[in-house]
């Protein structure tokens, strides 16, 4: 019981340090290649979605994978979560190969259908907690669910069903659920992609705030350059066809406010990189 509470309240010494300095690799991707059978064409023909990608995700950092639509960034993230197999290479979480999905790597999806429509906001979070810690006492589960719902600012909607929530509120609920089970890595697949511009900016700020709370490790996929600069301690730029690393850079402007002009240079530079060569 104390362990579980500790997850929420205390920060381990490594987590307290700035993520750039700790440098401890949590999730490593080695020469990952992902191929699919070609939709039509000769037998055995394949499409290479991701080619020879190697990255080390450090503990307690927000790592952004930035790339144009269809560059394989979501595919790579899905593989990190163990949802699809690699065609080559390896993905390891703390030295152990990732073979199938687990609650160590929890995914937040882009689409609004990720909430269970027949469960309220609270029950959606409690569902996850019950899976994660089946023996957690009821009262504690309730309390923990309420804490995380409160963290994402959804307390007024605690007992509402998902269909009564706005798009932004649904994503907040999904984030609360994912954070509540304290996964080693949070995998976020364009979670704000379906939101309007104003809500998206607000959610980016919120995510930075929530991250400060427990400093979880986050891998965040986006095609939005400004979002990448707002969120990522490090940004990996991917090129399309097949998905490869173009650049990996440290981002000094992480947490930058929307109206801050300092980060604009980085934004422009990144945008340049996303323009396909030739």
């Amino acid at each position: 019981m104390n362990d579980i509470l500790a997850v929420r309240t205390s920060e381990s010494p490594q987590r307290a340090a700035s993520p750039g300095e700790a440098n401890e690799t949590l999730l490593s991707v080695r020469d990952a290649t992902i191929q699919f059978p070609a939709p039509k064409g000769r037998k055995g023909a394949v499409v290479t979605a991701v080619k020879n990608v190697s990255i080390d995700i450090r503990r307690a950092e927000k790592f952004v994978i930035l790339g144009p639509s269809g560059c394989g960034k979501s595919t790579l993230l899905t593989a990190m979560g163990g949802f699809i197999p690699l065609s080559g290479g390896a993905i390891e979480l703390e030295g152990r190969p990732v073979r199938k999905p687990s609650m160590q790597t929890v995914m937040v999806f882009q689409d609004f259908f990720q909430l269970l429509p027949w469960k309220t906001v609270r029950a959606n979070v409690e569902f996850a907690l019950r899976q994660r810690w089946p023996r957690m006492p009821r009262g504690e589960r309730r309390e923990r669910a309420e804490h995380f719902v409160d963290l994402v600012g959804l307390s007024p909607q605690l007992n509402q069903y998902p269909h009564t929530l706005s798009g932004g509120q649904k994503q907040r609920c999904a984030i609360a659920r994912a954070f509540s089970v304290s996964p080693e890595v949070l995998l976020m697949d364009e979670p704000f992609g379906a939101l309007d511009a104003i809500n998206r900016e607000r959610m980016q700020g919120e995510l930075n705030r929530i991250w400060e709370e427990g400093r979880p490790t986050i891998v965040f996929v986006t095609h939005d350059v400004t979002e990448a600069v707002h969120l990522g301690h490090r940004i990996m730029v991917m090129t399309e066809g097949p998905g490869q690393i173009r650049r990996l850079l440290d981002n000094p402007h992480v947490g930058m406010l929307p109206y801050d002009t300092q980060g604009q240079e980085s934004v422009a530079e990144l945008r340049e990189m996303l323009i396909p060569a030739g």
């Binding site: 199938k100 687990s102 999806f109 259908f113 269970l116 569902f127 996850a128």
Partner: protein, 278 residues
């Protein structure tokens, strides 16, 4: 809208109360109108009682049959019919879930189920009654057999649709939170398929209810007990036409009650969860 409120005010009614009550009154008013038309037609044109009794006489026969001022015979017949349908219903639901469960787990099972459903769904199962009599004799089993055959295929078809339309993100969510096969069935598949399932149960019940009454008409008594269909046919044989009409009324009322029951179930589940428009 505005005109309705003006009319209501002119009639001296509180407009909000009027517009609230009126839609609910529409159906009872229509039913009363139809009944009045029936009564008036029979009385005015002096229709012979042996061809078409007046509503008031039928109502008296119904009340008498239910035990107010007479032998409560209708209950037993009705219960006999209901119990056959209910037993067949349970068998059908279990069969449909098992069949569909197999079908979603294998390509052969899927093809098999869709083929068999395709064969039996267009066949009015009452056509199987002579064969059922051959196999099971003049027994309750024969009736249950034909009723099951009328219910199980529409049920299986709607369950298949329900399972096929589960949002893929929810399936991924289930894998992410490490649900077992049964867990995924219980927490994700069945609730997701609920709108289709209720639709199937509704259609299945309708088919079954029609089939049993038809079967009893053809079939007569099963052993010692006989149902409402037999009662209706028997009334004709003994020229108790008014009693026969009372029997028909019972069939209609039961259909109406079950229909309302399904609507109540929907109100507390799929409508409430926004999975189906109210």
């Amino acid at each position: 809208m505005a005109t309705t409120e003006t009319d209501a005010r002119a009639a001296g009614l509180n407009p909000s109360a009027f517009s609230e009550i009126m839609p609910r009154l529409r159906k009872p008013i229509i039913v009363l109108g139809l009944v009045a038309l029936w009564e008036a037609w029979v009385r005015l044109f002096d229709v012979p009682e042996l061809l078409f009794p007046a509503f008031s006489d039928v109502l008296v026969a119904l009340i008498t049959g239910l035990g107010i001022g007479g032998e409560p015979i209708l209950w037993a017949y009705t219960w006999q019919t209901l119990s056959v349908v209910l037993q067949a219903y349970v068998v059908s639901v279990v069969l449909a879930v098992v069949l569909t469960g197999f079908a979603i787990n294998s390509a052969w099972g899927k093809e098999l189920l869709s083929t068999v459903t395709g064969i039996f769904q267009p066949l009015p199962s009452i056509a199987l009654l002579p064969m059922a009599v051959l196999w099971f004799g003049f027994s309750k089993e024969s009736l249950i057999f034909v009723v099951v055959m009328s219910m199980v295929w529409p049920l299986a078809a709607s369950l298949t649709v329900g399972f096929a339309t589960v949002p893929p993100t929810l399936l991924r969510l289930g894998r992410n939170y490490e649900l077992s096969r049964l867990g995924a069935m219980w927490h994700i598949l069945l609730p997701s398929a609920l709108p289709a399932m209720i639709g199937g149960l509704r259609v299945g019940w309708g088919f079954g209810w029609r089939t049993i009454v038809a079967a009893e008409l053809v079939f007569g008594a099963t052993g010692n007990d006989s149902g409402i269909g037999w009662y209706i046919n028997n009334s004709r044989v003994f020229l108790q036409i008014t009693e026969g009409f009372a029997g028909i009324l019972v069939v209609v009322i039961i259909g109406f009650i079950t229909e309302s029951l399904f609507r109540v179930i929907q109100r507390f589940t799929t409508h409430r969860w926004g999975m189906e428009a109210a």
